[in-house]
Amino acid sequence: MKAALLSIPALFLAAAANSDDIGFSGMPEMCASCHGRDGASSGSMPSLAPLDEESVRLLLEAYRSGEIEGTIMNRIARGLTDAEIASLAEYFGELEE
């Protein structure tokens, strides 16, 4: 099942740091540059705050595998580890409003 080009918003993440652990790769912060701090985008990239944990995980895995064809997100998701995807999903899932 391949989603049509660009029909699913290129996903990704937002803002700040995780509260429990100053360590890990800090990946959620890296997402804020494109997707806005606290998962609230002020531009054309999608906001991530509305997504729940499972959606973030499934989307990132689908971008990584190529099941969804976006633009830049496939190239970035291919650089993420399973552990990072899990942390990102947890982080942005917590921001769900």
């Binding site: 080009l5 660009l6 290129a10 803002a15 700040a16 740091a17 509260s19 429990d20 652990d21 100053i22 360590g23 890990f24 790769s25 800090g26 990946m27 912060e29 890296m30 804020a32 540059s33 494109c34 997707h35 806005g36 701090r37 606290d38 609230a40 985008s41 002020s42 531009g43 054309s44 990239m45 633009t71 830049i72 190239r75 970035i76 998701a77 291919r78 650089g79 993420l80 990072e84 917590e94 921001l95």
Partner: protein, 428 residues
Amino acid sequence: MGIRGAETSRRGLLKLAGASAFAGVAGERAVAGVRGKVVVVGGGFGGAAVARYLKLHSAELDIVLVERNEKFSTCPFSNTVIGGFNELEFVTFGYEGLRADGVEVLIGNVVEIDAGGNSIRLSGGEGISYDRLVVSPGIDFKWDAIEGYDEAAAERMPHAWKAGSQTALLRRQLEAMEDGGLVVIAAPVTPFRCPPGPYERASLVANYLSERKPRSKVLILDSKDGFSKQGLFREGWERLYPGMIEWIGFSDGGNVIEVDARSMVVRTDFEEFRPDVANIVPPQRAARLLDTAGLAEGGDWCRVDPRTFESAAAPNIHVLGDACVAGAMPKSGHSANSQAKACARAIASLLAGESPREPAYINTCYSLLSEDYGISVAGVYRPDENGEIASVPGAGGSSPPDAPAEYRQAEAEYARGWFANITAEMFG
């Protein structure tokens, strides 16, 4: 769960109270209670981001940001000012957001770094001491590299490679040029700030000329034999501006060796050109301020630890952005921003007496060829076993060639979205 729940509700309250979203999460960082004074020199993509994220990780830290100018004009999107899509104000930002976060912002000119004394000195003689120093001062030009091209010449042949008055000057020259004129863009040797920048600039200048002065030409004289996203740029130029942009690489005589700004002459190894507008981007090096502490070790750029960005030459000093050697990461605003986040985490850990954890970095460079034609290159990076910042194999890369128009249009939209979000993250 309890901590996160509390954080989320505190965030909500602060949002309701009108405080910034940053302040909302700042109070509960894992290193809350860490004290110390961090001085940041330079308020661009590296400096503004590291100051903000340090405050986020530990509200108790004293953060002093020293920046030369009251306002910062970004190089990213400054080509849209040169192309006439935006005014300079669109790429110009103040430091109110950082001040609201509790960062002390000083407008001043740093003239010396005293690594042994853990202090910096301003042009007025005032000294500022630090526990940790972060320098993100960007580039300086090698004025002696192209004969005749000095600061005075740049007033007639702008570089426009530090955004601001130079950007506006180049725009005015293009507006004043008659139809049928020749615009020369001299592109420098690698490494330099923003590898796709000269070619995005050629595109957006051609966009303006094709609409308003269609008999004009853009000639890129290059000091190298290839450039970033070359195939994608060429494909776009053929599609959008056929016949208007010519590129001459190093081996074909593109290397500019001399200019005469008064008579508007540009000379390469083989030829002489008489452009109506000359945009000379000279070779570059790390800001010379860094030499006051020997941070470039006699070379052009500063070596750093790939995990913390601490200088290889002096302890307690971190060098970010264009000025440092960051392995596979290009010299871009996004790279500096990404490095700043990892550096802020590392400093918070170091001040808490903990070891910094393994970072990962992302870079994204969008280039516009017209308002609705964008291309990109991205990368994900990690420190490797040799102590270099390396690209993650299989990740990253450029936009595909021969993509449909909707793909190019989407990337142009995303370019604008990127600019909106990264500038709001740093300055909003």
